[in-house]
Homo-oligomer: 279 residues x 4
C-alpha cells in the first residue's frame, strides 16, 4: 500500500471538495483522512491522505486536479508520505535537543536528523553519542552578517526540509530568515505574545504571573512574531524564582517543540497570513 | 440564508464524500463545514453543515442522496439547524442545573428548557425564578417501577429531544432507559470508569488520587457504562477531604455537562458501539 | 469552637515562627493550618488559622504577639473567620456576575453581596431576581471624574471589604483606585501581560495564539498591571473566530474570578510589591 | 552553608510546631522552608528545611528534639540534604528510562543512577552510551520466585535508596515488595484506579474515554494499589486507536514519573495509610 498527502490552499470556490474527491475517485485512490477549512475571508485549506495499491504517478494526478479545478488561485501539492530531513541549531541548552535526539534514536521522530549545528562546542560529545554529526560555527569575533553567512553556507551543504531552532540563542536577521522562508521553526520560552525577546522567565517572574508557557512558531522577519504552531503552559506560584520558572519551563518547551514538529512533519500545518491552520 | 445539517453513518465505501458533495453541489448548496471519520473496522461517519439562499425541500435532497449513494447500509439524516427541546431532571443539587438555567436565560444554551423535573421540592422556587415549569415527582413510598412510570408519563407530555440528568440521583432501570434510548444524557461525578456508582468522591478520597474528574455520557442499560461524550479533571492533593473534592468537583461537573450538551445539541455526537465519534 | 485567622507580614527574622506559635500556645489556641513564605529578599509572610473553645480577646493576643516579636517591621492582623462584604460592579455582560449571584444564592460564595452597581440598566431585572439591590450609575453625558465621584459616593454608602469588577468595562482613574486601595479586584479577559487593554480576544485572534486565558488581579493605578491572583487558560485553534474566543473565554473568566475571590475572601492573598503571595 | 531536612510524622499534639522551631532556634538553625499537615484523624506530618553556617551534629539535635517533644508517637528523621542513589528496572520501553538517563547525564535528576537492570537485553547499548552499568537478569525459563530472588540479590549489591520501575513489565510478588518496602516506585500507564492491570490503553480505548493518564505510585503488595504520588492526563478523541493512546500516553508517563521522583528525592512525600502527603 502506498500513502500520499495532498495539500491544497487558495481561494475558496463552490464544489472544491467535490471536484478533488472526484479526481481521486477516478484514480481509484482511497481517501483515509481528509480535513478542510475555509477562513472567514474565503481562503480554502485542505489536507487529504490517500492510499493506493499501486505506485501513482503524482504528476498525472496533479494535472488531472488542475484540469478539474480550472483555478489559478490554488496551490496544489502532492507527495508520498515520507520522513522529513532536518538540521537542528543549538547553543548550550540540551533539553529540546535531547527530546529530538532520543526520539530520533528510537525512530519516533518522523524525521531524519542530518546534522546538529552549534554556536558553542558544549553539546558536541553528547550529540556524537547518538552518532550524529555536530558542526560548530562559532559566532565569536564575527559580525552577525559574517556568522550568519557561514551558517547559511553550512546549511546549503544539507538538503534540510526544516531547520529547527532548539534553543538557538541567536537573533536571526531578516536576510537570513528570508533565505530559509517557511523552513525555520523556533521554540520560544514564553507564552507569546507575552514576554517577547530576552529573558522571558525573568520578565514573567517580575510580573508575578501564575502560569508560564512556551511557544513553537515559524520564524519570520520580526522577532518572536512568526505564525504560532503550538503552545502550552504550566502553573507556577510565588515560590518559583525566575530560575525555578526556567527549570520547569524547560519541560514545557521540549514537549511543545516536539508536538509542533510532529504536526509540521506530517504536513498538517498551513501558514495563513500570520497564523497557522492545522488540519 | 438557511442552514442545514446532514448526518450520515454506516458502512464505509469508496467515493462516499465525492457522492455526497456531488449531490449538494447539484442542489446549489454551499458546504460551510464538513467532517468525516472512518473507524478502523470500516464504519463511516460524516457531518456536513450547508447553506442555501432559499428554503430547501429536504425530502428531495434526501431522495437524491439515496439515489446517488444506492446503499442500504447508511443512515442519512437532514434537518434545519435549530434549537433542541430539553427536559432537565434534578434531585437536590443545583450546580449543573444552574449552569443550564443561567445560559438558557441569556439565550446561550442552544436549547429550549421546556421543563425541570425533580424528585424533591427543594429546587422549585429557584427554577421558578427563571419562569420555567418545575414538576415534582416524588419517589417516596413508591416502587422504582411505579416512580419511573410516572416520570415516563410526565415526559410523554413534553416532546423533548433530550433528557438531561443534571445530578439526578436515581438509578434508572433498563426498561426506562430503553424507552428513551439515545436521549438520556447524564453527568457522573467521577472520571469514569474510575469510581462507578455511589459516592465517587468518597471512593476517590480513600484511594488517595491526585486528580478528580467528571464524565458526561449517554445513559445505557448498565450503570455508568454508556458512551462517553466529554470528560475533564482537576488537580487535588492530600489537603482535600472527600467533601472538598465534592466541592471543587462540582465546578468540573457543570462545565463538562455543558460542553457535552453543546456538542450534542449541535448534532456533532455519533454513538458508535459503546463509544462516541464527535465531528 | 471559634476560628481565627492571623496574618503577619514584614521583615524576616530568626525565630518568627517559633515566637508566634509560642504565643498561641500560651493562649491555648490550637493551630489548624499554618503557612509561611519568605521571599528571596527577606520578606516574611505567614497565615495561621487557629481555634479555641472560648471566645478570645484578639487585642490581648495581638499585644502579646507585639511584645514577643518586639518588631516594628511586622504588620500583624488577627480577626475572627467570617464572610466578607462585597459590592459588584458590572456593565452588560452577565457571566461573571451570574457565577457570583448563583453561588451567593446557595451560600457557596463565602461573602455577602451587599449591592450590584451597573453603568447600564440591562442587568437590573436579573439581579433583582436574586433579591439584591441593583444601583445604576450611568456614565452617559458625564466626565470620567464626575462618574467616578458618583460611584465612589455610592460605594461609601456600603461598607464593602472588596469591590469586584465583574466585567466592568470602564477604565478607572488612578485617583479612584487610590481611594479603594487593595479592595478592587478585576477580571481581565486575557492571559496577562498578553493583550493588555481593549479587545483582547480580537488581539489574540489576530496574533493567532493557540491558547487564550483570563487573569484575576488587584487593580492598581496602571491599566492591567496590578498584582495577579489567579490565571487560567483554554486551548483554541484556527477555527475560533475572535467572537468564538470571546465565547469560550467567558467560561475561563468566570471560573478564574471565582477562584481568585475564594482565595481573597479566605485571607490567603498577600500583596508583595507587584506580585501576590498566596498561602 | 549546610542544608538539612527534618521530617516528623506521628500523633498530633498541641505545640508541636512551637517545640520543634524552639529547638532549631536554640541550635541557631535558620528555617528556610517549612510545611506541616495534620490529617482529619489527627496524624501530624512536618517537613522542615534548615540551614546552618557550620556542620551540625544531627544526633545532638535529634536528642534535643526527643527531649523537647517527649513523645513516643513521633518518628523524627534528620539528614543532610543530598542526592539519592537509585537503581532503575526496565523491560523494553525506553521513554521513562530516557527521561531519567538524560537528566542524570546533565545533573538535573537530584539522584545518582547506580545501575539499570533489565529483564531483556534490548536497552543495554543505549544505557551504556550514558556510561552506566546495565545488568540483565532474564526471567526466561525461571519461576517468578527464582527470578525475583536473583533480582533481589543483585539489588543487594547496590545500596539503593529507591528502586524505580521505569516501565518494568513484571508483576512483583508481595514477598519481593515486602523486602524493599517504601523503596519501590512504579509508573502505571493509566489514570489509576481506572484500568488496573494489563493493557490499560486497550481497556481505555474500548471504554471510549476522552482523557487518558498516568500514575506514579509506591508499590505495595496489591497490584496497582499503592499510594499515589503523582498523576497527570491528556485529552484524546475517537481518532486515537489504542496504539495512538499508548504513543501519546508515553509523554505523560515519563513526565509524571519524573515529577514524582523529584518529590520523593527531595523528601517531600510521606506515606499516610494508603495515601501520600506531599509537603
Amino acid at each position: 500500500m502506498f500513502t500520499y498527502i495532498l495539500s491544497i490552499e487558495g481561494k475558496d470556490a463552490k464544489g472544491l471538495i467535490y471536484n478533488v474527491t472526484h479526481v481521486l475517485y477516478q484514480f481509484k485512490c482511497n481517501i483515509t483522512n481528509q480535513d478542510e477549512y475555509v477562513t472567514p475571508n474565503g481562503r480554502f485549506y485542505m489536507r487529504t491522505e490517500f492510499e493506493s495499491d499501486e505506485v501513482k504517478d503524482l504528476l498525472v494526478i496533479k494535472n488531472a486536479l488542475d484540469a478539474q479545478l480550472r483555478s489559478t488561485d490554488l496551490v496544489i501539492r502532492i507527495h508520498e508520505r515520507s520522513k522529513k530531513n532536518i538540521v537542528i541549531l543549538v547553543t548550550k541548552e540540551h533539553h529540546c535537543l535531547s527530546e529530538l535526539l532520543v526520539r530520533h534514536h528510537f525512530d519516533e521522530l518522523n524525521a531524519n536528523i542530518i546534522a546538529v549545528f552549534g554556536n558553542h562546542e558544549v553539546l558536541r560529545s553528547y550529540v556524537e553519542k547518538f552518532d550524529l554529526p555536530f558542526i560548530t560555527i562559532s559566532h565569536e569575533g564575527k559580525s552577525r552578517e559574517q556568522h550568519e553567512s557561514e551558517v547559511a553556507e553550512a546549511l546549503n551543504n544539507y538538503d534540510a526540509d526544516y531547520i529547527v531552532l532548539a534553543k538557538y540563542m541567536r537573533i536571526l536577521s531578516p536576510a537570513f530568515v528570508e533565505k530559509f522562508q517557511g523552513k525555520l521553526i523556533n521554540i520560544h520560552h514564553s507564552f507569546l505574545p507575552a514576554f517577547i525577546g530576552a529573558n522571558p522567565y525573568k520578565q514573567a517572574h517580575e510580573r508575578g504571573v501564575k502560569i508560564i508557557g512556551a511557544t513553537a512558531h515559524y520564524v519570520n522577519s520580526e522577532l518572536d512574531q512568526g505564525p504560532i504552531i503550538c503552545q502550552d503552559v504550566i502553573q507556577v506560584d510565588h515560590k518559583h524564582s525566575a530560575k525555578d520558572m526556567a527549570r520547569v519551563g524547560k519541560d514545557i518547551e521540549k514537549m511543545v517543540l516536539f508536538k509542533a514538529l510532529q504536526l509540521v512533519f506530517d504536513d498538517k500545518v498551513f501558514i495563513s497570513e500570520n497564523r497557522t491552520v492545522i488540519l
